[in-house]
């Protein structure tokens, strides 16, 4: 039997790759707030759709400073990047952050953007790009991300195979409140990578002895001990390995592997009774676990070494039975996957609402035994593929729902068209008449306003004469002219001139009163004209709204229909391909596990027979003595 190689365990830890969306200042843009509302619920498609649209609209504005998103545009760019990362759109992630980075912003914002961009590149395994982004950080750095930047830089160096550079940074982070045990563990791995084995062991020893009750810190403590133990095991320093393996908690995620390794370490130094203890615990654990299955064989092997062949035979028998049951389960699981039930179970809504959905999957009738798929389900590639499959199923559901609305929209537009089309020509005719009257009155109004303004600067009393006065004045002027030409009696001419003088006198003396009255009347008219204009504008708006309610929708709806149909076609194709890959990986995994169990079964069968023989021989020897 083979021990778990160090390469499986000794991989650096990466923390906080995707931080939650955070808004540091008071919210001024409701639509950004709405995007956050969805993001906080883990609904990143909905969050992205809203924020992406909002940012695009903002980018098209002539005066963005008047828009409420102006106050949050940097945070919106960061959030877009975060949402895209969380929605597994790595290709797009970073686009919005680059925009912030290239804008004229202060050091704090620019450095935050550079850090976020570096984080995205690192997650996409684009190490040179990640380093380039980190190198852009200069000037004032926000305190909240100072350690994060250095920890990321150390991880990039480590991933690039530059452990010495990483060590330099990680050594400075050993007292960091944010990283503590994680920095110690990664420093241990960096030492190991640079060939400084003893330093690595010292550091892992330190990380493995931390006193804490924090679940994450406890996990890193276990991990450190397991790695330190495995380093010793690989160097065949079994005595040194045992204390580390014993320090791993019995209820932690690494306990099974530690128990198995502890048993082998004890066996290697001939402490067989001590090997029995961890293997007894492990053999009673979840039967689908690899380590547990191995312990089911290792335990009777140890009893055999102790010459307790009867008990060994019993345990081999138990193992054989258990392996038989598990092989049957695996056969059923393989069959279930071949019948397509694995994928059907994966996309069931009620299963996915449970955070332990992978475990719950096994409770579904005819679904495969998911405990055997746990390792595979946890692998990065499978997770990516599985999440993509689930995302595709979600997208498909969404589009089908949208498609069901297209007919309703068409009908809505048709009903509006049927309603407005017969009414509008008559209304338009009436409007045209009203419009020409409005224009005429408006021109008249403008002329009167101009006349009033002229009179204020150049008084012209005759302009304010009543029509009757104007007629009388004209008649008097005509009579005066005739009298002058015809040589009329001077008494008659004087009489005409006196009458004219009376009229002019009245116009001159009443000029100011008349101008005030004219002005007042004009002001009253202004009010009426404003009211008329409001009603006119309201009519124009309603008229436009009626047209807008049914005109111009045909093309967008039909374009959306085509896009949606194309998208569904693509999604179906991708789901089939992605599903096939997932099924194949799951089948390969289950087949490999079945093969392993069959091999274990063969060993158990031979060992069982051997144990019976030895038990019988010992019994015979005992009886003969």
């Amino acid at each position: 039997m083979r021990r778990a190689p160090l390469s499986v365990l000794g991989i650096l830890l990466v923390t906080g790759l995707a931080s939650g969306p955070v808004l540091a200042q008071e919210l001024k843009d409701l639509y950004f707030g709405e995007a956050l509302y969805y993001a906080h619920q883990g609904l990143y498609f909905e969050a992205l759709e809203r924020l992406d649209t909002e940012v695009k609209q903002y980018d098209g504005l002539d005066e963005p400073q008047l828009d409420t998103l102006y106050y949050h545009i940097d945070a919106a760019g960061f959030s877009l990047g975060d949402f895209e990362l969380r929605y597994r759109m790595h290709h797009r992630a970073g686009r919005a952050i680059k925009a912030v980075l290239n804008a004229a912003v202060d050091d704090v914002v620019r450095n935050d953007a550079a850090y976020r961009l570096a984080r995205i590149h690192f997650q996409k395994n684009q190490l040179p790009e990640a380093l380039h982004a980190l190198q852009q950080i200069e000037g004032e750095i926000p305190d909240s991300i100072r350690d994060d930047i250095e920890f990321l830089r150390a991880n990039v160096y480590l991933a690039e195979g530059r452990p010495e550079d990483s060590i330099e940074i990680l050594e400075k982070l050993q007292d960091s409140d944010s990283f503590g045990g994680f920095a110690s563990y990664n420093l241990g791995i960096a030492y190991l990578q640079s060939g400084r084995r003893q330093d690595a062991l010292d550091k892992l020893n330190q990380a493995g002895g931390v006193v804490t009750d924090d679940p994450a810190e406890l996990a890193i403590r276990d991990k450190s001990n397991l790695v330190a133990g495995t380093i010793h095991l690989e160097a065949e320093e079994f005595d040194s390995a045992i204390p580390y393996l014993n320090r791993v908690r019995l209820d932690g995620p690494f306990s099974n592997q530690a128990l198995l390794s502890a048993g082998w370490a004890n066996m290697a130094v001939n402490k067989v009774e001590r090997a029995v203890v961890p293997w007894s615990i492990l053999a009673d654990r979840e039967v689908t676990d690899r380590a547990s299955q191995e312990a089911m064989l290792a335990l009777p092997y140890a009893y055999g070494k102790l010459d307790v062949h009867g008990r060994a035979a019993v345990y081999y028998g138990r193992a054989l039975d258990a392996f038989g049951v598990e092989i049957d389960k695996l056969n059923e699981s393989i069959e279930s996957i071949r019948e397509g039930k694995f994928l059907a179970a994966l996309v069931r809504e009620e299963i996915r609402k449970d955070k332990d959905w992978v475990v719950r999957l096994r409770s579904l009738p005819e679904a495969p035994e998911t405990y055997y798929l746990m390792d595979m389900l946890a692998s990065h590639e499978f997770q990516t593929g599985l999440q993509n499959y689930l995302d595709l199923a979600d997208l498909r559901r969404k589009i089908l729902e949208w498609q069901s609305g297209f007919d309703a929209y068409d009908e809505m537009v048709e009903i509006r068209s049927d309603h407005y089309e017969p009414l509008l020509p008559e209304i338009d005719d009436e409007f045209r008449e009203l419009d020409s009257r409005m224009r005429l009155r408006s021109e008249q109004h403008k002329m009167l306003v101009k006349r009033r303004d002229d009179l204020l600067t150049t008084p012209r009393p005759e302009f304010l004469a009543t029509p009757e006065e104007q007629a009388i004045l004209a008649r008097l002027e005509q009579l005066e002219l005739q009298s002058l030409k015809g040589g009329a009696a001077s008494t008659e001419l004087r009489r005409i001139q006196r009458l004219k003088g009376i009229l002019v006198w009245r116009l001159e003396t009443e000029y100011h009163a008349r101008l005030s009255e004219f002005d007042q009347n004009l002001r009253n008219l202004d009010e009426v004209m404003a009211l008329a204009q409001t009603q006119y504008d309201e009519y124009v708006r309603v008229r436009q709204a009626s047209t807008h309610s049914y005109v111009g929708y045909e093309k967008p709806i039909s374009r959306l229909r085509v896009h949606a149909a194309n998208a569904v076609q693509k999604i179906d194709l991708l789901m089939a391909r992605q599903g096939h890959v997932l099924e194949k990986v799951a089948l390969d995994e289950l087949t490999a596990r079945r093969g392993r169990l069959e091999s274990f079964g063969d060993k158990a069968r031979f060992a069982l027979a051997d144990s019976y023989d030895r038990a019988t021989q010992s019994q015979a020897r005992a009886e003969s003595q």
Binding site: L13, A18, T68, R92, D375, F382, D391, L392, V413, E589
Partner: protein
């Protein structure tokens, strides 16, 4: 547990649980190539969603009559919001019962678009009823009535909720 530590724990378990099967490497290549295509279709569908949203807004809520009401929870509020009911001019506009996730999203600063609809220009009355539990575990129900005017532009109202206290029903409404 902090987000950073949760992420670390997840990474830790993922690293440990990573299988060694060679067949997975080959499948991994297939998955990577599919991943790029999945990202493309996600982008396409996001564009469709955005276009559809714009179309729906134009078709269903023309700017002249559009009214949108958003609900937010005041900062540092730990009361449990169970439901919100909004009436406009005496007619029920919306009634929403909050799930745990939705409430948490509001408490973290998210804003919910609770209602989108149409009203004519002029003066209107908004009535907001909030049902929940105070921080001390006592049931409460409070109602606030507010006047608002709808002009020719789209109207957006923000309802901000807080735990009712002395002299306040904890409901504020403002223009946004």
């Amino acid at each position: 547990m902090s987000i950073r530590k949760s992420a670390a724990l997840l990474a830790l378990m993922t690293v440990f649980l990573t299988g060694t099967a060679v067949s997975q490497d080959l499948a991994g290549e297939n998955m990577k190539s599919l991943d790029g295509q999945v990202q493309e279709i996600k982008s396409d569908v996001l564009d469709i969603a955005s276009d559809l949203r714009n179309l729906e807004e134009r078709l269903l809520y023309p700017s002249g009559t559009q009214l949108a009401i958003f609900v937010a929870v005041e900062e540092q509020q730990d009361f449990r919001l169970d439901a919100v009911q909004i009436e406009i001019d005496g007619e029920l506009a919306t009634h929403h019962i909050y799930s745990f996730n939705e409430l948490e999203a509001l408490q973290k600063g998210g804003v919910q678009k609770a209602y989108a609809g149409n009203v004519v220009t002029g003066d209107h009355e908004l009535r907001v009823t909030v049902i929940g539990k105070t921080d001390s575990g006592k049931d409460f129900s409070s109602t606030g009535t507010f006047a608002f005017a709808k002009g020719v532009k789209p109207k957006t109202l923000g309802v901000t909720l807080a735990e009712p206290g002395l002299g306040s029903d904890g409901i504020q409404v403002g223009d946004w």
